[in-house]
């Protein structure tokens, strides 16, 4: 087990290097360091001198991947790629192109992102499971049928509409919560209520329907029939057996997204003005701040790999027969 985990962690390194290489390649195919400098120096009165100063200050004055003029190993190390990516492996992301420390920023922004993502994840899971169980309980009745219809309808609405409608009704017309913004602590509850509710509602359709099929598959199995034959009530069968066994695929499926909760939600955060990592990423894309984009890609992929690892581990925990090797 330990050896397996170790191997997987080592395996992550080439992936991260690959991701990084790809990010670099994609970004610099379109943007020269000169472009980046101009972008950040603004429109008015930009001189070539200012551009070369900017590049020197931000470390973009070396060649990209290969420096033919440098001696020996420096051919590789004295390049933008090496200098910028080698440090990321020790979580040193440097400063963004507009001069703020990225790691500091990520630390302060992870909180708001989690404040939205964690409740959405947990409550969403609960709501979806409840809804799915109800449908399974009333399976093959009109309630089940309409439940599924409701799910498909909910699924067919773009997430943007949920946000726009939620903001319009709850915040604008009914004055129940602030329209947007964020605050820490208990006061922050008022701000996250709406985004959390909207995100949960937007996720019910797909989630509940998927869980319903899992539970239905479970309910067709022999042990459930045995349990029922023993005279257990329907509720008991559902909760004791179906829910417990159905939770295995649900949880192992959910584990993979767990670390990615840190990344926040791009759309929700920017609509509701939540200063999280999602809106950070969007802003960085829009202002083409390469340093931030690179850091977020790196963290995103690292978290994704951790998610895969957690999934593997959760399989062994859920089912002792699975051995990792």
């Amino acid at each position: 087990m330990i050896a397996y985990l170790l191997r997987r962690i080592l395996y992550a390194i080439p992936i991260l290097i690959g991701v990084n290489l790809l990010t670099f390649a994609l970004f610099f195919v379109v943007n020269t360091p000169d472009d980046m400098a101009r972008m950040h120096l603004g429109m008015k009165r930009v001189t070539p001198q200012a551009i070369s100063n900017w590049k020197a200050e931000h470390g973009y004055d070396a060649p990209l991947f290969y420096d033919a003029s440098a001696p020996g190993i420096n051919k590789i190390t004295h390049t933008i790629f090496f200098e910028k990516s080698a440090r990321m492996f020790v979580l040193d992301f440097g400063t963004s192109d507009d001069g703020r420390d990225i790691w500091h920023e990520i630390k302060t922004r992870a909180g708001p992102s989690l404040a939205i993502a964690v409740p959405v994840f947990i409550i969403g899971l609960l709501v979806n499971i409840t809804f799915a169980l109800l449908m399974v309980f009333f399976r093959a009745t009109y309630l089940d049928f309409w439940g599924v219809v409701l799910c498909v309808v909910l699924m067919s609405i773009s997430g943007l509409f949920y946000i726009i409608a939620g903001q319009y009704l709850i915040a604008k017309l009914w004055h129940l919560v602030p329209i947007s913004g964020f605050n820490g602590g208990i006061d922050g509850l008022r701000f996250i209520l709406l985004p959390v509710v909207v995100s949960i509602v937007a996720g019910i359709g797909g989630g509940a329907r998927w869980y319903r099929t899992i539970f239905l598959e479970e309910i067709g199995k022999d042990y459930v029939r045995t349990a029922r034959a023993k005279g257990l009530s329907e509720w008991r069968v559902l909760f004791r057996h179906v829910l417990q066994n159905g939770m295995i695929p649900i949880l192992t499926g959910a584990v993979v997204v767990l670390p990615l909760l840190f990344m926040g939600s791009l759309i929700t955060e920017s609509f509701f003005g939540i200063p999280g990592l999602g809106s950070y990423t969007i802003d960085a894309i829009q202002s083409q701040d390469f340093a931030i984009v690179r850091a977020m890609v790196f963290i995103g992929s690292a978290l994704y790999i951790i998610g895969l690892l957690l999934t593997d581990i959760s399989y062994t925990l859920a089912d002792p027969r699975v051995r990792l090797q």
Binding site: P14, I15, G18, V19, L22, T23, L26, F27, V29, V30, N31, V152, V153, M155, S156, I157, S158, G159, L160, F161, I164, Y168, W210, T213, L216, E217, M263, L266, I267, T281, I282, I285, Q286, Q288, V293, M296, V297, G300, S301, Y304, I305, L308
Partner: protein
């Protein structure tokens, strides 16, 4: 020649896809084991109703994919010249919707603009009032008294036409069925109306009737009004919504078309050969998958813009420019979404290659290629099919979100994402301009709902236990 045909890159791919679907259908019809699940799809009422709705969208999308450049009026002795505006067969069918532009916003079915303006009266004095629209309700002499009557009349006509057409359709269908079934026309009619056929003809007819009525009511109204109002620059919103259909369909289908070969090839190869090939392919898709999709898409869209700027002579029309951007978006969405299918196929292939008959085939020295095409590929068919139909709706929804973020389709392209995007400002107006958002909602919802329902019936037919999500 009155026009010059233009084959945009996505048009070519759409017709390629159409041909592929045709060949596939022909192939399925010839193989009984393949036909069986499709029969199940055919007998599913919800699925078939959804298919009818989808078909309407597809027809509109296809009409909108036949592009041409109209010839300009010419003087004698000059060579024929064509305009740079690329039109489609759909535009040719809807000349009024396209060209009847108002000044700015007007509400659905309105006869007046949505904002007050200073109007100079005949006697030279000025008043501040809502000016009449140039086209919307222009036939009415006094809109305040005639408007309601006119609208009701047009709706009634639309419904009557719809019902008449449906009745004709029912008779036609009954006549066709009567030739195959015993009992003559009347018996066929009765069976049809009672829903006594294996194929749910009755549901299909009801769907058709509703669609026909809706369509004809809209046709009636659109002849004199802007059914969904007009947008900021006075463009008919119904027209924008209809033009957006093609964009949605292209994203939903071409993306899959693009990703399919990769996913199939790599998934099967990885599962079949295992070893270092498997490692390499796994590395490839884990790497791609671990990059947050939005970032990958943003970067690619930028690359594409550089490419366009480097070749301005190739992309000489606005249509060509936005088309290549759309295609690129499909490509990159394909790249980000093929990994899921690839993993699924790899797992299934791993299982299949352990099957006895394949082991036996290997022992007999059958070539790898043959084993893959003969034994493995057909057994993966249902997985591919289900993924393709299930992905469709997700992709249509993704377009809206990406466009909202600013890395989606070209801003000049008609798309639901762009409609929602401009609605951001409209929702902040007082009073609210709601119709563009609503139109985008209605159209998107109809397409995605139909796609979801159809995908469900396909999945039920091919994979009754719902293992694939």
């Amino acid at each position: 020649m009155m026009f010059k045909l233009v084959m945009l890159k996505t048009d070519a791919l759409i017709f390629l896809l159409l041909a592929a679907v045709g060949i596939f259908t022909w192939y399925v019809r010839r193989h009984d084991y393949l036909r069986a699940p499709w029969r199940r799809v055919l007998t599913n009422p919800t699925g078939m109703a959804a298919a009818v709705v989808l078909a309407v969208f597809v027809v509109i999308g296809l009409l909108d994919s036949l592009h041409y450049r109209p010839a300009l009026a010419m003087k004698a002795g000059q060579p024929v010249q064509y305009g740079v505006e690329v039109l489609s067969a759909l535009d040719a069918m809807l000349p009024k919707l396209r060209t009847h532009k108002e000044k700015t916003y007007s509400a659905p079915l309105a006869t007046h603009l949505y904002a007050k303006e200073t109007i100079v009266l005949a006697n030279g004095s000025t008043v501040r009032d809502y000016p009449r629209l140039k086209y919307g309700g222009a036939q009415l002499a006094d809109p305040h008294t005639q408007w309601m009557r006119d609208i009701v009349q047009r709706i009634a006509w639309g419904v009557i036409e719809g019902l008449t057409l449906t009745a004709l359709l029912v008779l036609l269908l009954a006549a066709l069925l009567a030739r195959r079934q015993p009992g003559g026309l009347v018996a066929a009619l009765v069976r049809l109306l009672r829903g006594g056929n294996a194929i749910p003809w009755r549901t299909l007819l009801i769907t058709c009737a509703i669609l026909l009525m809706l369509g004809l009511v809209i046709v009636q109204l659109a002849a004199a009004y802007h059914v969904f109002g007009t947008d900021k620059v006075g463009q008919d919103v119904l027209y924008i919504s209809l033009k957006s259909i093609r964009t949605g369909l292209v994203i939903g289908t071409l993306t899959t078309l693009v990703m399919l070969p990769f996913a199939l090839l790599l998934g099967i190869v990885a599962g079949y050969f295992r070893g270092w090939v498997d490692d390499l392919i796994q590395y490839l898709y884990t790497t791609l998958n671990s990059i947050p999709g939005v970032l990958l898409i943003a970067a690619s869209v930028l690359i594409m813009q550089v490419y366009i700027e480097a070749h301005p002579d190739v992309f000489d029309t606005s249509a060509a420019r936005s088309d290549i951007r759309l295609l690129f978006l499909c490509l990159i969405l394909g790249v980000t979404s093929w990994t899921g299918l690839c993993r699924l196929l790899r797992g299934e292939t791993l299982k299949l290659r352990e099957q006895e008959y394949i082991q036996a085939a290997t022992a007999f020295g059958v070539s790898h290629w043959r084993i893959i095409t003969r034994h493995i590929l057909p057994n993966l068919q249902h997985l591919v099919l289900i993924t393709v139909v299930m992905d469709f709706s997700g992709l249509v929804l993704a377009e809206a979100v990406l466009t909202y973020v600013g890395v989606g389709v070209d801003p000049a392209m008609y798309s639901w994402g762009n409609m929602i995007n401009s609605a951001r400002l409209e929702m902040a107006r007082e009073p609210v301009v709601w119709w563009q958002l609503s139109a985008a909602f209605v159209f998107m919802f109809a397409l995605v709902l139909a796609a979801n329902l159809f995908a469900d019936s396909v999945r039920d037919a091919f994979d009754p236990r719902g293992r694939v999500q």
